[in-house]
């Protein structure tokens, strides 16, 4: 117990960030399950953070309802945004969600209620490590159940082949919208928790590069199961510390190693780190080897 306390004293903020990043990565995982490349989840997190923060700072709402609002408002925003943009595909969807993210960021800079470029300060510091990990555990459980539900199979089938999915009676658009909204709500939750961890949120906290990071967590970890994005987020969030531990100084080398790891994963582990612990079923079997000739 003594050691644990000491460990947390040193690495507490890292542990918190791993949890929050993993939650954000899971939020994108739901969208990616349907093959939607969204760069909007960082912006949904920002919406959640500002909503919850403003409610507690300016309106003195208790923590729990503020957090709930921080999840619900991004969900509503996702409906409004999703209705027009989910008809776009691939990089076009990515660009549209990216534009949305920029507009949210610029709005945060220019509005008074968000505290402008300096950010919103004085947010009560309520979030603690067990809340983050409780939220993460619930989200991971939810994603795991979703993956093995009718909705989960439907989303996967949309990613694999939209036309074939439609011919099976799957209402493509409704499912996509649902996944988009669920992702936005999880992201909002992460943002709301973050706001109450940190006293301060600024428009820079959830910019374009955070949106890209979420994507990287998923790719490095693997998108097939809930533990993929969690592993990716954990590894990449802790990587600077790990590299420091083995003597790699900050700066270019650490950054270069980061890039190389990502490159190696995409080239040699197309299904991410998760495929190291759980080999996809029957991948190694080569059925055509037997009896090709009649």
């Amino acid at each position: 117990m003594e050691h644990l306390v000491q460990f947390y004293a040193i690495y507490g903020s890292l542990i918190n960030f791993i949890g929050l990043n993993a939650l954000l990565a899971l939020s994108l995982n739901v969208t990616l399950a349907a093959g939607m490349l969204s760069l909007g989840n960082a912006a949904f997190a920002a919406l959640g953070a500002y909503t919850a923060g403003i409610l507690t700072v300016h309106y003195h709402l208790p923590f729990i309802p503020a957090i709930a609002a921080g999840a619900i408002l991004p969900g509503l925003a996702a409906v409004v945004l999703g209705l027009p943009v989910l008809r776009l595909k691939g990089v076009f969807l990515a660009m549209a969600t990216l534009a949305f993210g920029e507009v949210v960021r610029i709005a945060a800079v220019n509005l008074e209620i968000t505290g402008g470029a300096e950010g919103l300060t004085g947010i009560p510091n309520v979030t603690n490590v067990w809340m983050i990990y409780l939220a993460l555990a619930l989200a991971a459980y939810f994603v795991a159940v979703l993956r093995r539900s009718q909705l989960g199979w439907g989303l996967l089938s949309i990613r694999e082949d939209e036309t074939a999915a439609a011919c099976l009676g799957i209402p493509i658009f409704r499912y996509k919208l649902l996944a988009f909204v669920i992702g936005a709500m999880l992201a909002g939750l992460a943002g709301a928790l973050y706001a109450h961890l940190n006293y301060l949120i600024t428009p820079r906290d959830y910019g374009f590069f955070i949106a890209v990071d979420l994507l990287i967590y998923n790719i490095v970890g693997g998108t097939r199961a809930w533990y993929g994005p969690v592993m990716g987020a954990a590894l990449l969030t802790a990587l600077p510390e790990i590299l420091r531990g083995i003597g790699v100084a900050a700066g270019p080398i650490r950054m270069g190693v980061n890039g190389l790891i990502l490159l190696l994963v995409i080239l040699f582990l197309p299904n991410g780190l998760a495929s190291l612990i759980n080999r996809p079923r029957a991948v190694t079997a080569t059925p055509e080897a037997s009896g090709q000739r009649a």
């Binding site: 093959g35 490349l37 027009p84 943009v85 776009l88 595909k89 691939g90 990089v91 076009f92 969807l93 660009m95 549209a96 990216l98 534009a99 949305f100 920029e102 507009v103 610029i106 709005a107 800079v109 220019n110 939209e162 374009f208 590069f209 890209v212 994507l215 990287i216 790719i219 700066g251 270019p252 080398i253 650490r254 950054m255 270069g256 980061n258 890039g259 190389l260 990502l262 490159l263 995409i266 080239l267 197309p270």
Partner: protein, 297 residues
């Protein structure tokens, strides 16, 4: 009114640099249907290496410019060989290519950080002699601005003629149009794709040098500021369309300075641009000049 005219001129110049950057971006997309997110990192390295050649090797900018441009082109070849060629026949090549280009962008950014340091730097004084012409009361234009536009125009004319007239240029268009047909015509498709990366990255590097000269400031993170704008520009102009990229670049540059001029603050500068981008995506996803090529992801 004068302020307005001045802003218009400035917008034109910065817009032409955006356009040049975006042309390289859109060229790769037009041929391969892949977004190369390392383009901004090549832009940075191009600018920084020109600066290094001018400052430490003491070269004249007129030699350092083409040399650094070639260097950027070589980075493009590397990029293709490492991040794109190995993934080309994977079923999710569009998606995985996006990620591997992000990885290369990080590596390149680390490289520029390691080689050139983290601080913003500028070209040594007198790299280009700057004349200032007075066009009217408080409306000026500098010889640097004029040369930047001249270089951009020159490169665009050269690129257009190359694609329209030359054998290799036609081969690039054939590959963009239909890879299978190109193979059957005896075109070495792999070679042509590598060459496309070379040209695209060389143009990106050239844009980086001009950008550094114009703002008189370069740093390892300069690519970050233009990355988003470049994406916006090619969407605006139409993915894969070269005149579209130029037009989109100008439109973007003008919208930036005009928003500042009209609103009186720089806060809304990017907001207008991205709202326009958003509207374009919803109303005309193929962009201003793009063909309707909304392929599946």
């Amino acid at each position: 009114m004068n302020l307005f005219a001045q802003q218009l001129i400035n917008g034109l110049f910065i817009g032409s640099v955006y356009g040049l950057f975006a042309v390289g971006y859109t060229l790769v997309f037009g041929v391969l249907d892949i977004l190369n997110l390392a383009h901004a990192a090549v832009f940075t390295l191009g600018g920084l290496s020109a600066l290094w050649l001018a400052q430490h090797a003491g070269w004249s900018i007129w030699i350092a410019f083409p040399a650094a441009t070639m260097l950027a082109g070589l980075l493009g070849l590397l990029l293709n060989a490492v991040a794109f060629a190995p993934l080309r026949h994977r079923s999710d090549s569009q998606f995985s290519g996006l990620i591997s280009s992000i990885a290369m962008a990080i590596v390149f950014e680390a490289l520029s950080l390691g080689l050139f340091g983290a601080r913003a730097v500028r070209f040594p004084a007198g790299t280009v002699k700057v004349h200032i012409w007075q066009l009217g009361p408080s409306v000026t234009i500098t010889s640097l601005q004029v040369s930047i536009v001249a270089v951009v125009v020159l490169l665009m004319v050269a690129l257009t003629l190359f694609l329209k007239r030359s054998r290799a240029g036609k081969a690039i268009r054939a590959v963009a149009e239909n890879e299978r047909a190109a193979l059957l015509l005896g075109i070495d498709v792999r070679g042509i794709i590598a060459f496309t990366f070379f040209i695209s990255s060389a143009l990106g590097g050239a844009a980086g040098i001009l950008y550094g000269l114009y703002f008189d400031s370069l740093g390892p993170d300069m690519g970050r500021s233009i990355e988003l704008k470049g994406l916006a520009v090619i969407i605006l102009g139409g993915m894969g369309s070269i005149p579209g990229a130029i037009l989109g670049g100008l439109a973007f540059g003008l919208s930036e300075v005009l928003t500042v001029a009209i609103s009186g603050t720089s806060n809304l500068r990017d907001a207008v641009a991205f709202m326009v981008l958003f509207a374009i995506l919803l109303l005309r996803p193929s962009g201003l000049l793009g063909r309707a090529r909304m392929r599946e992801a």
